[in-house]
Structure formats: structure tokens, C-alpha cells
Symmetry: C2
């Protein structure tokens, strides 16, 4: 497997990952796992693409909230519409600051505003709006469309797993339908294999009587984070993963669920230690990093294990898995 | 495709189904649909296996409720535990009677008792209990284990679709995890492709600190029936089906969702008109049967279209899709 994971330095981390894939995929191996059980789950924000200075989905949410506040004066007297409409940087800065400290209160207020802005929209229209955003809106620091701020080494890891008959799922704490707009073109992961948080939906019919699934503004419970991740994985997959990949304390329960059972398993934790090429922070990941040694999860050093960070090939919009 | 669907009589229904599969699968066809969009969704009770005199899952539920009432005297003063413990045939008969008229009140009381009986159980233990029941408990009329009361022609239809790169999902109004215990051995459908109603779950750890997903007694909303079916399909699949198969009014919304959009689509409705070999009833399917002509859904006559009704080969317990 010398050609596998070309954007990884040939460190012990890379070697351990390749050894694991080999051990569970080789029918002659003592650790062989049948393809039906060969399940890997990946967190999304901070694991597959960047999550700073704010989750990419929140950047999209700010656009939607601003648009709604511009069109509907009656929402401007309450948050988050008020702050976005008035460009109240103190309020927004505090959300970002609280977020960095692990306090999600402000983020949830933004998420509620975001859900409200898309309330009643058919899923296809929502997807078109998201895809437009991810393909064209640019990150301020890197001056690139958001979807290109995906980690190239992780795309290679997913493809290496798929090439060895792994069933690879994305399980995002953020919006499932947000990630589904690009999962096929970036990762060759079908939409059905993206798990995540979501609003509730309702059935409706359009003017011609055509059946539609419409968004509501209520959040589905539980959120796909922390103890909610194994619950979402059970619901969508019906089996325990044998491998899980995360980067934050919200991934601890998923990592324990994937690695805490008989047979060879692999837990990976992406460590953001590369201020030059991406960001360096432990905020929100302190407990996970601390548990890693005891639980035998491998810590990926972005700085030392990765030759390149961001996507080096441009995915074709609308490219499908076949 | 002369060898396809061998348990079907060569009626216009069989021919129309084969023509549809051919038209969407042949790259040279004007109606070609790419594999990623080639999605079919099947209802379960009454569509894939028998649902009379009561849903098979309710037969399992009666066992569990009886066991709980035997072990815990304090539940015997309330329904459904009281009726099951006292073998109150009047109360149970009324549930079956109401059910036949489309009134699900009694059935929901039974379902709640069933959820309560398994409250706190780890999913693997629940699955083992269900598989034991489906493999060994027998239907009173047919004197066969319940899992063998699957319709052979429908298994053949699912395999024909899979052989033509369809992604085939089961979407049951009943319990998703109940059906997942046998979906692989009977249909070669992976557990992840079974959608359905469910209780909520919670994360827990056992005495050794091993992470577990545990059942609760609360129902997840919405139930995967009626307008809830397209919602569940969106959540699990992320795309509209191009084919849907049902047998009752609870399948109308799914059939409208699958057939009400551009491109070639197929809606199928199983009509129970075979009192000699199975049952003959329109109860609970009156509206669907009435809509079929207007919506151009094909009605499958169990009596005329099927050479055999029940499974002719015995699936191997624990047989996996590969």
C-alpha cells in the first residue's frame, strides 16, 4: 500500500493506519472483519474540513439570517436577527468567544435563526442554496470557496477505506443536509451515508399536488454530538463501527462506541497543531486529547503527519458516486 | 429477463414491472436513471410478509408484555399488561377488531407496553430476543415460523432490483430494529437500508465501561407511516425514490412521493385478494386502492399474479450481505 495516503508523511501514524486497514481486510489475517461489519464513522467539522473561526455552516447561517432580517423588519428586534442586521460585532464576537471556550449558547441561538430562515422550504431548494454557498462563498483567511477547505489527507484516508470495502459514514454534529450537498463529489460518500443533526420535516404538496418534504424550524432530538453520536449511528447503521475519527470532546462517545468492543478497532483524533497552515488549538478537545492515551486512540498531528492540508484537486460539482 | 420473477405468473403486472426495470437500467434507454438515483422503497407489513390476524411485531409484543406481567405484579393493574396477564380475550379481541377497522388506539397501547417491556435494554440483546422469536414462534394458521411467512414473489422482486443496481430500502410503519434482525438473511438488504418507526435511544456504559446504545420507552416522532414515510425516507436516503411498493392507506404518501416527479416512476400496491392462500381484505387499504387508477399505480393481485405466496427457500440464520 505504498501509493496509499500520498499526502501523509510516512510517520508511525500513517503506518499504524495502513496496518489496521490491512489487518481487518485481509481474509488471511487473524483480525479479518467481514465487509458487512467493516464500518468507519467520521466526524465532519474539524475532522474533514476546517471549523475556525466559526463552523462553515454558521457562515452560511449568517448569510441566511441577514437575508431574512433585510426582508422582514419584524424579526429585527430579536436575536440573532438583530445582531446580524445591525452588524453588532460585540454580540457576534461574544458568540465566537463563547464557542472557543466550549459554550454553545450563542451558537444555538444562531442555529435557531438559521432554522427559522429556512422554515417551510422544500429540501431540494435548501440543497441548492447550500451548494451555491459552499461552491462560491470564500473563507476570509484562505481566500478559497469553503468546500475546498476540506483536508486532502482525510479524503485519501476515506478513499483508502472504501477501496478496502469499508462502509464509510460521515456523522456530523452540524446539519446532515448541509453536508449531503457535497459528500458525493468530495468523498464519493452517498447521501444516505451522511448522518447528522437536523431539523424536523413535514409532508406537503405543492400547487400541482406534487408531494414534497418540507423543513420545519424545530430541531430533531438528540443532536448528533457527544452521547447523541452513538445513538445516531445505531439509528442509521444498525451496527457498531470498528473505526471512528474525530477531533473534539463531542466525539468521545463515538470513539468509545467504536473502539470499546472485541476485535481489532481504531480510534483516530485529529489534533489541530498547525498554526502556519491551518490553526493550532486544543479548546473543546482537552478531554478527548487527555483520554487518547488511556483509550489507545491515535492522535494525528496535522503539522507532522500531513504533507498538505487542503484539497489539492477540485471536485466537480454534481459529481456522483456510481 | 425470462428467468426473473419465477414465482410470478406472466401477467401484464409482471410484464410492466420487468419493462420498468429494463427502461430505467438500460444505458441506451430514453428513461435511463443513474444508479445513484435508482432507489426503491418497500413497505413491510402486508407488503413483504403477512400482517394478519395481527402485525407479527405485535405477536412478539404480546410475549414480551406477558413475560413482564408475570415478573412484575405491580404492572398488572393497567393495560396492556392487565389484559395479557388475565388472558382477557374480550379486550384483546376488541384491539384486533378496531385494528381491522383502521382504529390504531389499542395497537398503540400494546406498542407502548412493548416499548416499556424492553426499556433500558441494549440493542444487541433486543435483537437476539427478536431473532429468536421470528425464527421459532409459529403462526397459528400456517404452522410456520413467522419469518418464513415472507412473500416469495416480493423477495424475487427485490433481488431483481438489486441485480439491476437499484438501492432497495424497507420502510416499515412498525419497528425498524425488529425488521433489521432478518433483512440480510431474507432479502440481502443491509441493516442500514431498513427505515422504520422506533423508540428513542440513550447512551450508556456497562459495568466494564463498554459503551452501549440502550432502548428507552419513548417513541421517536414521527411514526414511519402515512405522511411520516416521505419524511423518514428523506432522513435516511436523502433522495426521492423512483419506485415505491405498499399495500395500505399508510403507504399513500410514500407512493405519491416516489411517483409524483419527472422521469419514469413505478408505484405498486399489493392487493390481498387471496383468502385461500393468505387473506382477502380491503380494510385499511380502501383509499389507496381507490387512488391507484388515478395515480397510475399498478395493483398486484396476490391471487392472479403470484404462483406461490410464501417463502420457498429457508434463509440461513445470520446470513449476511457481502
Amino acid at each position: 500500500m505504498n501509493d496509499t495516503l500520498p499526502s501523509w508523511n510516512d510517520t508511525p501514524t500513517r503506518q499504524a493506519i495502513l496496518a489496521f486497514i490491512q489487518a481487518v481486510s485481509d481474509p488471511g489475517s487473524a483480525h479479518f472483519v467481514s465487509p458487512v461489519e467493516r464500518i468507519a464513522t467520521f466526524d465532519n467539522d474539524g475532522t474533514l474540513w476546517l471549523e475556525k473561526p466559526l463552523y462553515i455552516q454558521l457562515q452560511h447561517g449568517l448569510h441566511a439570517i441577514g437575508k431574512m432580517a433585510a426582508e422582514k423588519p419584524d424579526v429585527r428586534d430579536r436575536q440573532p436577527f438583530k445582531a446580524v442586521y445591525e452588524r453588532d460585532m460585540a454580540w457576534l464576537g461574544k458568540v465566537a468567544e463563547d464557542f472557543a471556550r466550549g459554550d454553545l449558547g450563542g451558537v444555538m441561538t444562531l442555529a435557531s435563526g438559521f432554522a427559522e430562515a429556512f422554515d417551510g422550504m422544500a429540501v431540494a431548494a435548501f440543497e441548492a442554496d447550500v451548494l451555491q454557498f459552499l461552491s462560491h462563498a470564500q473563507d476570509a483567511r484562505f481566500q478559497k470557496p469553503y468546500k475546498l477547505l476540506t483536508y486532502q489527507p482525510m479524503v485519501e484516508l476515506i478513499h483508502a477505506l472504501q477501496d478496502n470495502s469499508f462502509q464509510v459514514y460521515i456523522t456530523t454534529g452540524g446539519g446532515r443536509d448541509f453536508v449531503r450537498t457535497v459528500c458525493e463529489e468530495i468523498y464519493r460518500i452517498p447521501r444516505s451515508m451522511v448522518i447528522g443533526s437536523s431539523v424536523m420535516f413535514r409532508y406537503g404538496e405543492d400547487a400541482e399536488g406534487i408531494a414534497q418534504v418540507l423543513r420545519t424550524k424545530e430541531f430533531e432530538q438528540p443532536i448528533d454530538d457527544g452521547p447523541g453520536k452513538p445513538v445516531h449511528i445505531h439509528r442509521a447503521v444498525g451496527r457498531r463501527p470498528i473505526m471512528a475519527v474525530g477531533n473534539s470532546d463531542g466525539d468521545i462517545h463515538m470513539l468509545k462506541y467504536a473502539t470499546g468492543h472485541p476485535g481489532l478497532t481504531l480510534g483516530l483524533l485529529v489534533h489541530h497543531d498547525d498554526a502556519a497552515r491551518e490553526y493550532a488549538y486544543d479548546d473543546g478537545a482537552e478531554k478527548a486529547l487527555q483520554l487518547a492515551a488511556r483509550e489507545e486512540w491515535l492522535v494525528i498531528s496535522m503539522k507532522n503527519d500531513w504533507k498538505t492540508v487542503f484539497l489539492s484537486t477540485t471536485p466537480q460539482e454534481g459529481e456522483h458516486v456510481t
